[in-house]
């Protein structure tokens, strides 16, 4: 039915709105309009890779103000743009050609979709005359990307480019953020039309609720007033809405202990006395115990992901639930919610601060503190006993005063980083949460450094994940980026090996992975390589890397079969954590 219907093009609405403008508009190509539109949206950096359908677009890039970062594989362009967005709070932008270029972006789109990252992807499409005829490098990317984008467009006329890009950016960054794809046919890039950048955008059908209903806020405050053992579950939404200061104020005013989802880490400083650490599958023992015990759970900006909740029937069994989320569809999706508060985290917290009383939960905090793993904590006081990966991650934290941007790949090293770094700021912790995309480490470091050249950037990667994306060392060298890559080299696809070890009778199947000599590899790319094989060399290597210009790769050769603990077995409840036999000798009770 849509085929023979009259579509309401955004242009039609905007032509009306902009009628007042005086001077005759410039005549520009669709490609030039694309660049101008990106400039209008404040874009400074784009990550991309050229090809047939976008050659006209690349024709226009040199005369624009855009800094184009030439990656070595489109997926890494998408993930770099994703990390750029996380580090800056701006919309990340990536560009790919039609067909294989566009399909290579799919994983990055899914990554951004699952972690609600504002991103705009521009893809070239074959000329309109070829669409639907299986033209060379034709792929229906709007069809392919439908489930992994917040929205997408196939632009049919050069006049529609500017209003479409305007709307795409608005959608990407407003409401619950997400990736938006704009597919532009080659001939549309070439055709010349008058250029006017619209001043307005938006649709009647898209009205995200940002200001919560005060009645719901008051109900939430009432719950807090009546609770004896409240717990705040801090999610990514706090970071996405830039609500760090309001969140800390809310937490301090109420005195409620704070636990974090993987992506919520740093939404308040982990060094704060009310900060307890990460929850869930690899959460700290005392955090998961607090969840079992709490009588009120205040989830702010998290979606009750299964890695955070464990088996739902055993999740926070004694708690009433307040859930603050900008997406009404998240309310009650996984966990029964007593008080939903739909709105932007910052607005909700601002309103909540007005409604809640000063509180103190010392006894409750002390109880939680008593659940800590004393043996491990004592060992951590005394550096020479640090388990290896902890020493590397804590070493980087110590050397940078917890101020560096830390990105990761996916696997055991990622969980050790989440557990051990101690994040001060949410926008300096950059990891692939919802999709768990291996290969993310290096491109995310590139994206973060492009966005925040003023900050020190480290990436913790596995030997497996790094082998997926190390071609991006060439990009980092070409851009002369000061980034430090720490490979936790255990010779295994460690996280999978751990599951095979614990849950599949130690049947190691296809997890032993060889690797090139990472030091020589780094040098071959024109980067610096350092190898560390003993514990006393960890700190000196970290300090050396910090003083070297350009990309540095440190190959930390570590114990091959260390496991991440605690671990909640798949399908189990968070109360059924397994503990490290070495560091938890007192764990008979579980």
């Amino acid at each position: 039915m849509a085929a023979n219907s009259i579509a309401v093009s955004p242009t039609a609405i905007l032509e009306e709105a902009d009628h007042g403008q005086a001077a005759a508009p410039e005549i520009l190509s669709g490609a030039a309009i694309t660049c101008r539109s990106l400039e209008e949206e404040g874009v400074r950096t784009v990550f991309g890779y050229p090809g047939g359908a976008v050659i006209p677009l690349y024709d226009a890039i040199p005369s624009s103000s855009l800094h184009h970062v030439l990656v070595r594989f489109e997926q890494w362009a998408g993930l770099a743009a994703d990390a750029y967005a996380r580090a800056t709070g701006e919309v990340g932008v990536c560009i790919a050609t039609s067909g294989p270029g566009a399909t290579n972006l799919v994983t990055a789109l899914a990554n951004a979709q699952l972690d609600s990252i504002p991103m705009v992807a521009i893809t070239g499409q074959v000329g309109q005359a070829l669409i639907g005829r299986d033209g060379f490098q034709e792929v229906d990317i709007t069809g392919v990307s439908l489930p992994v984008t917040k929205h997408n467009y196939l632009v049919q006329r050069a006049e529609d480019i500017a209003p479409t890009i305007k709307e795409a950016f608005y959608l990407a960054r407003s409401g619950r953020p997400g990736p938006v794809l704009v597919d532009i046919p080659k001939n549309v890039f070439i055709s010349k039309v008058p250029y006017i950048y619209p001043s307005k955008t938006g649709r009647k059908s898209y009205q995200p609720t940002t200001k919560p209903n005060i009645r719901q806020v008051r109900l939430a405050a009432e719950e807090i007033r009546h609770s004896k053992k409240p717990l705040i579950m801090a999610g990514h939404g706090i970071i996405l809405s830039g609500a760090g200061p309001e969140f800390q104020q809310f937490a301090e005013r109420t005195g409620i202990p704070v636990i974090y989802t993987l992506l919520g880490l740093g939404s308040m400083s982990e060094l704060h006395p009310q900060s307890l650490g990460m929850m869930g599958m690899h959460g700290h023992r005392h955090v998961n115990r607090a969840l079992e015990e709490c009588d009120l759970l205040i989830n702010i900006g998290a979606r009750f992901d299964d890695r955070a909740t464990g088996r739902l029937s055993g999740f926070a069994p004694n708690a009433r639930v307040v859930h603050v989320d900008i997406d009404p569809a998240e309310i009650g999706k996984n966990v029964k919610t007593h008080v939903p508060v739909v709105g932007d985290a910052r607005e909700a917290l601002t309103m909540l601060i007005e409604e809640v009383d000063f509180g103190d939960h010392k006894a409750w905090l002390d109880w939680i503190d008593g659940q800590r793993n004393r043996v491990l904590e004592a060992a951590l006081e005394d550096r020479p006993e640090w388990p290896e990966p902890y020493a590397i991650i804590r070493g980087i934290a110590e050397a940078t005063d917890n101020e560096a941007i830390l990105t990761t790949d996916v696997g055991q090293h990622q969980m050790w980083a989440a557990q051990q770094f101690g994040f001060k700021y949410g926008d300096r912790w950059i990891t692939s949460g919802g999709l768990g995309t291996m290969g993310y480490g290096l491109p995310s470091a590139i994206g973060a450094k492009m966005g925040r050249p003023d900050l020190e950037v480290w990436s913790i990667v596995g030997d497996g994940g790094f082998q997926m994306s190390f071609s991006e060392l060439a990009t980092a060298v070409q851009e002369n980026l000061d980034i430090n890559i720490a490979i936790i080299n255990n010779g295994y696809l460690g996280m999978v090996r751990q599951w095979q070890d614990l849950f599949h009778n130690h049947n190691y199947s296809e997890v032993r992975i060889s690797a090139p000599d990472f030091v020589q590899l780094a040098e071959a790319f024109g980067a610096t390589g350092i190898r560390v094989t003993s514990d006393e060399d960890i700190m000196p290597a970290i300090q050396r890397a910090r003083s070297i210009k350009g990309p540095v790769v440190i190959d930390f050769v570590v114990e091959p079969e260390a496991n991440v603990y605690p671990i909640v077995p798949p399908g189990a409840s968070n109360s059924e954590m397994m503990h490290d036999p070495q560091w938890s000798p007192d764990e008979e009770d579980v």
Binding site: M1, A2, A3, S5, I6, A7, V8, T142, G143, L146, P147, H151, L154, L171, R203, K204, S205, Y206, Q207, T209, T210, K211, P212, N213, I214, R215, Q216, D327, P328, A329, I331, G332, K333, P340, V342, G343
Partner: protein, 180 residues
């Protein structure tokens, strides 16, 4: 309990909107019994009637997910009683000799209309709610149905208003509204 819900979805008539709605319901594992689409009373807007099977909570979740589609303006769950539903069916029935007059008599009972006649068949159109159509088809089956096509359900709320408000003022339980 799992049962069929009739969802009426008002959407912007943009290219691909049907694909977006169907794709969303498929990837969130909702079963669609039937779907009908056509223009609405407002230019540029279409109205879809979806029959979706599921628990109440699941269908509510489906509605919330549908709202996330840019083109979706309004989703209404018309549970039984509040709405009038209609379906149209066309059947080609074997009709030779004396069965021909019997069929015509039954058709009359159902207010059905004869659309076409051949020496061996009758083509009949019937309109009604699901139960009426089912019952009509049971009768026709006795004579032998050669071909049959059903339109899928369309539905309209009995309340006086139109279902055309925007998302912002479409609170179903007070949760969405930014009131006060």
């Amino acid at each position: 309990m799992e049962h069929a819900h009739t969802l009426v979805v008002l959407v912007e008539d943009q290219p691909g909107v049907l694909n977006r709605v169907v794709s969303l319901l498929r990837r969130r594992s909702f079963n669609i019994d039937s779907i009908t689409v056509g223009h609405s009373e407002q230019p540029g807007m279409s109205r879809m009637t979806l029959v979706v099977r599921g628990e109440d909570a699941d269908v509510e979740q489906a509605g919330k997910q549908l709202y996330k589609l840019l083109e979706v303006m309004k989703v209404t769950d018309l549970s039984e009683g509040e709405a009038i539903t209609r379906e149209i069916v066309m059947v080609k029935v074997a009709a030779k000799g004396q069965s021909r007059s019997e069929i015509l008599q039954i058709a009359q009972v159902y207010n059905a209309r004869v659309l076409d006649v051949t020496p061996s068949t009758l083509m009949i159109e019937a309109t009604g709610d699901e139960a009426q159509i089912d019952s009509f088809l049971t009768m026709m089956r006795v004579f032998g149905i050669r071909e049959m096509v059903r339109s899928g359900k369309i539905a309209m709320s009995r309340t006086s208003g139109t279902s055309r408000q925007g998302k912002a003022d479409a609170p179903s339980n007070g949760v969405y509204a930014a009131a006060d």
